[in-house]
């Protein structure tokens, strides 16, 4: 199977769906770039190049650059979605949620319920998440817990190129508003990605490592780190099962509970500050529905309750590392 980057996988997904359905449009800041400039068209293709080349094939009528006005972008996408389009809006950094969150959680996500089930709002909001870029407090957050919390919204966190393509295609075909979160540190990650279009259903976890001693649940970039921790501990004789639910909402709780039924031990890894985090969410659901299977405390591995630090020396300590994940697994394995 052809090897492709996470970036390229996403680009392919967008291209497939735009060819397949004329109602699919892209809207955001510099998703093409060069508008109103003397230089080239498609000068940006998105700040990290995911949408590169699409304006060439589909034109500015479907690859729409906007002013820096996120509320208008998200609102326009929502309004277009209930009016017959299937917009893919680019929020760029998820950290910008704060200037447009109303259009997402009070508008798009609530239409269907508030309107008595009559509204269909097929929109995708793409955003870059995560740390490791030394981008500072306002460009390094994940914020997926704030989004997972929102009824009416679906939240996707792909952990590899194959899933990135299949989940983005599903997101675009999905009839509900979907927040699609791409980890900055993964765009250059390469993996097997078929050339054809395929959709991966939401709410279906993937087991990336099998083991009977400890269950680890992780999303996005944390899956790879958890896999590394699992491989490391295998040498120590601790067999770790890594579960990647792929979507946080809907969440494949059954797969998590099944694994915990076997292992009796759970570690949840979450690149986020700890309070009301996704780690807490999953821990709580298992503490309620899988309690009798548990033989050890549920341990969460998260960032500390602080903003993201800029200095590399601090950011490396801030994000959950393979070492911290491994230590947490050892801790529960001992019990």
């Amino acid at each position: 199977m052809p090897q492709k980057s996470y970036r390229q996988a996403l680009n392919e997904a967008l291209r497939h769906e735009m060819r397949r359905d004329p109602r699919v449009i892209l809207i955001g800041e510099d998703i093409a770039g060069g508008a109103g400039c003397e230089g080239e068209e498609d000068a940006y293709g998105g700040v990290l190049g995911v949408t590169k080349g699409l304006v060439g094939e589909f034109g500015r009528a479907r690859v729409i650059d906007t002013p820096i006005s996120e509320s208008a972008i998200m609102g326009a996408a929502a309004g277009a979605a209930i009016s017959g389009l299937r917009p893919v809006a680019d929020l760029m950094f998820v950290d910008f949620l704060g200037v447009c969150f109303d259009q997402i959680f009070n508008q798009a996500a609530k239409f269907r319920y508030m309107f008595g089930g009559k509204a269909v709002t097929p929109m995708v909001m793409r955003a870059m998440i995560g740390g490791g870029f030394r981008a500072g407090g306002q460009h390094s957050q994940t914020l997926h817990p704030m989004l997972t919390m929102v009824p009416g919204l679906k939240v996707v966190m792909p952990s590899n190129p194959y899933d990135a393509k299949g989940l983005l295609i599903q997101a675009i075909r999905d009839d509900d508003p979907v927040m699609f979160l791409e980890h900055k540190a993964m765009y250059d990650m390469v993996g097997e990605v078929p050339d054809e279009a395929y959709a991966i259903p939401f709410g279906e976890a993937r087991i990336t490592r099998t083991g009977k001693d400890v269950t680890v649940v992780a999303f996005s970039l944390m899956v790879e780190r958890s896999n590394q921790a699992a491989d490391l501990l295998k040498k120590e004789g601790i067999l770790v099962e890594v579960v990647d639910p792929r979507t946080t909402s809907p969440l494949d709780l059954d797969s998590i509970l099944e694994s915990v039924e076997m292992t009796g031990r759970l570690v949840v890894v979450d690149e986020s500050p700890p309070r009301c985090s996704l780690a807490a969410d999953i821990s709580a659901q298992v503490a309620e529905h899988g309690f009798d299977d548990l033989t050890a405390p549920i341990v969460t591995v998260t960032c500390p309750h602080t903003p993201s630090p800029f200095s590399p020396a601090l950011e490396d300590l801030y994000m959950p590392s393979v070492e911290r994940i491994a230590d947490a697994i050892r801790k529960v394995a001992k019990k």
Binding site: R62, A72, G75, G79, A80, S83, Q107, F115
Partner: protein, 323 residues
């Protein structure tokens, strides 16, 4: 843009329907038959009807917390609306939305909105859909004088100009945002001129005069359908009542309110115009009044008797599909 008799009758019927609807909602709320809180539109009828008489079901409107009049003007069924406001299962939103969230997508009513400034970006999106799909339909957003200061509204105007979208930003200046005056909250004291500075034609019209609103919005709609981009229209017409039913209205003087209800009643003004011009007769108008009265009576009575939603309805309609 001459209106024929049928259109004039329709305009009056809609304005009267709004007036009667709001008066009934007021009465039923006072009787404790309506839950939550309601924001009434009486006094501003010419604005909604003058605007929406230019629109078809294909055209979209986005509304506000004070949306009853907009919904009625856009053709939403008053019975379904009344049932919704009563919180009943067969309300237009199944009782899940309520007064501030009435929507009827088939009628091009994409939602009242309890977030001030929520609708304009959505209307821009509806206009984007029309343009992208090659339709000649337009979108219109209603925003109050207070709401005109919300950042989302400014962003929406700029984006609409940049993308040259068929959208009309209708600002309903009724003098107040809750208990704060327009002259205080709008630093420039001129909503239309501020909108014009975003790069679109903008006019301020008498919101008491149906014909003035109809024509101003008509020109904006024509520009939009012709692919000439967005426009803004500011209508001036005070609300008769408080911000919500129950508002003691201390920020208004009783003299000012009496004067407003006596001299600034868009229905009286419409009746005077069309009868003096011999376009419609008093008899025709009175007949419509009676017709509307029984329509509203019927709506309120059936609403009061309709069943509430049940536990089975609580968790439905959140997603189209949720694994």
């Amino acid at each position: 843009m001459q209106l024929n008799r049928e259109e004039l009758l329709k305009a009056y019927r809609l304005m009267r329907t709004i007036r009667a609807f709001e008066e009934r909602v007021f009465a039923e709320f006072e009787r404790g038959n309506i839950p939550g809180f309601v924001h009434l539109y009486n006094g501003q009828e010419a604005s909604a009807v003058g605007a929406c008489m230019n629109l078809t079901d294909e055209d979209k409107i986005g509304s506000t917390h004070r949306g009853h009049g907009h919904c009625i003007a856009k053709g939403v069924d008053v019975r379904d609306m009344m049932h919704e406001i009563y919180g009943r299962r067969d309300g237009v939103c199944g009782g899940k939305g309520g007064s501030m969230h009435i929507a009827d997508l088939d009628k091009g009513m994409i939602g009242a909105n309890a977030i001030v400034g929520g609708a304009p970006p959505l209307a821009v999106g509806a206009a984007l859909a029309a343009k992208t799909l090659g339709k000649d339909s337009v979108a219109l957003s209603f925003t109050g004088d207070g709401g005109s200061n919300q950042g989302t509204v400014f962003e929406a105007m700029n984006l609409a100009v940049v993308l040259k979208l068929p959208v009309i930003f209708l600002f309903e200046n009724n003098g107040f945002g809750e208990g704060t005056g327009h002259d205080y909250a709008v630093g420039s004291r001129d909503i239309a001129a501020r909108a014009a500075a975003f790069g679109m034609p903008a006019t301020r019209v008498d919101g008491l005069d149906f014909f003035a609103v109809y024509e101003a919005v008509g020109e904006a709609v024509a520009r939009a359908r012709a692919g000439e981009g967005p426009s803004a229209v500011e209508t001036i017409a005070k609300r008769f009542g408080g911000h919500f039913v129950g508002d003691p209205m201390l920020y208004r003087t009783s003299q000012e309110r009496e004067r407003t209800m006596r001299d600034e009643d868009p229905l009286k003004i419409f009746r005077k115009k069309v009868t003096e011009a011999g376009l419609l007769s008093v008899g025709q108008l009175d007949a419509l009044d009676r017709e509307v009265a029984s329509l509203i009576e019927e709506a309120a009575t059936s609403a009061g008797a309709a069943p509430f939603p049940t536990a089975a309805d609580l968790e439905t309609d959140v997603y189209v599909a949720y694994a």
